[in-house]
Amino acid sequence: MNGEPVSTFQFLGLTFSTANIVAGSVVFLLVVAVIFFTSRKLAMKPTKGQNFLEWLIDFTNGILKGSIPAGDVGKFGLWGFTLFLFLFLSNEIGLFIQVATRSGATIMRSPTSDPIVTLTFSLMTMMLAQFAGVMKLGYKAHFTNYLKPFVFWLPISIFEEFTNFLTLGLRIFGVIFSGEMLLGVIWNLAVSHGIVTMIVALPIEMAWQGFSAFLGAIQAFVFVTLSSVYISQKLEVEG
């Protein structure tokens, strides 16, 4: 972003960003590790790891229950859980690990500080919403929803789909990207005049890092909440 060199590579005729691939893989492995180590020795009487996992499952199910009708929550539970865990770790990882190559190209940061990643998740949500709507209501009822409350609403309905897609993806990107950028600015301040600015910048950095961690959690929560709202809109026939 902002004019810095970006490390890319070509594979099968497609362009890949090294940072996104590396960060995505790291988050992927982190999620698998968290899930693996908390799901050992499952028992009727839960122990530490299982307690945490069950709390997390209840939490994401709670988000989904907030908007999706009770009968359909079960189908989206796994999706909501995976989405929340992946986005949460994606938001937080860039606050602690940022790696750049010698040429200045970042290769490790939050995956969600790149719009292509957040828009990918946003697109997945929109497609899932369409798919779930067709599955639940059938093609006819699903697409006549676009003509409600009256036929001329169609352009607005289509436009709304597009804006939902954009706002959902860009909201999380904006918060995470700006958070990391400000961390970078504070870091530049810290190294600008030796030890004095280092001492001054340390509490600011800590405060902003804490705030960004909080924002990262909020954004993951908001993303899952809004996703479930968009899905729930497709699950019912509008009056």
Partner: protein, 171 residues
């Protein structure tokens, strides 16, 4: 296509595919590792809790029934004990009376027997004594008669006797 929307950047379409695939893969891994087993366990726990509540309710009812039964049995056994004691008392009373009556009757019989025996003894003794006296008097009398009846006495007696005979013949 969309690259002109992002200023000065090329869009990495490859990343989209990478993230979609990794997300689906992640969902699958989570399902196999955690989601399936954990939700199953949670469901089992919910079932178990509801079963436990039901069985606790049942146990409570059973216990209440048992308490009632026990109290009824207790009351029953108390009244039974009362009956037994009463019966025993009545029996004892009856037996006592019977024994006393029996004893009295026995004593009466014994007394009568004793009196009868005594009377008998007295009669026997009296008759014995009478016989003895008679024998003795006869013996004494015979002894006296033998000694007194000397020759002239005998002669006189015989004479009297013959006289008597003669008189008889004359008449």
């Amino acid at each position: 296509m969309l690259s002109h929307l992002v200023i000065g950047q090329t869009l990495y379409y490859g990343d989209t595919i990478f993230y979609v695939i990794s997300f689906i893969l992640l969902m699958w891994i989570i399902k196999v590792l955690a989601w399936g087993p954990v939700t199953k366990m949670m469901q089992e726990r919910a079932d178990k809790i509801s079963n436990d509540i039901d069985s606790a309710e049942k146990s409570r009812n059973d216990a209440a029934g048992l308490v009632q039964k026990r109290e009824a049995a207790l009351a029953n056994s108390r009244s039974e004990a009362q009956t037994i004691v009463n019966t025993a008392k009545t029996n004892g009373q009856q037996q006592r009376e019977q024994i006393v009556t029996q004893a009295q009757a026995d004593v009466q019989t014994l007394k009568q027997n004793a009196q009868k025996d005594i009377e008998q003894e007295r009669q026997d003794a009296l008759s014995d004594a009478r016989n003895d006296v008679a024998d003795l008097s006869i013996e004494i009398a015979s002894k006296i008669i033998q000694r007194e009846l000397k020759a002239d006495d005998q002669k006189a007696l015989i004479d009297s006797y013959i006289e008597g005979l003669g008189k008889q013949h004359e008449s």
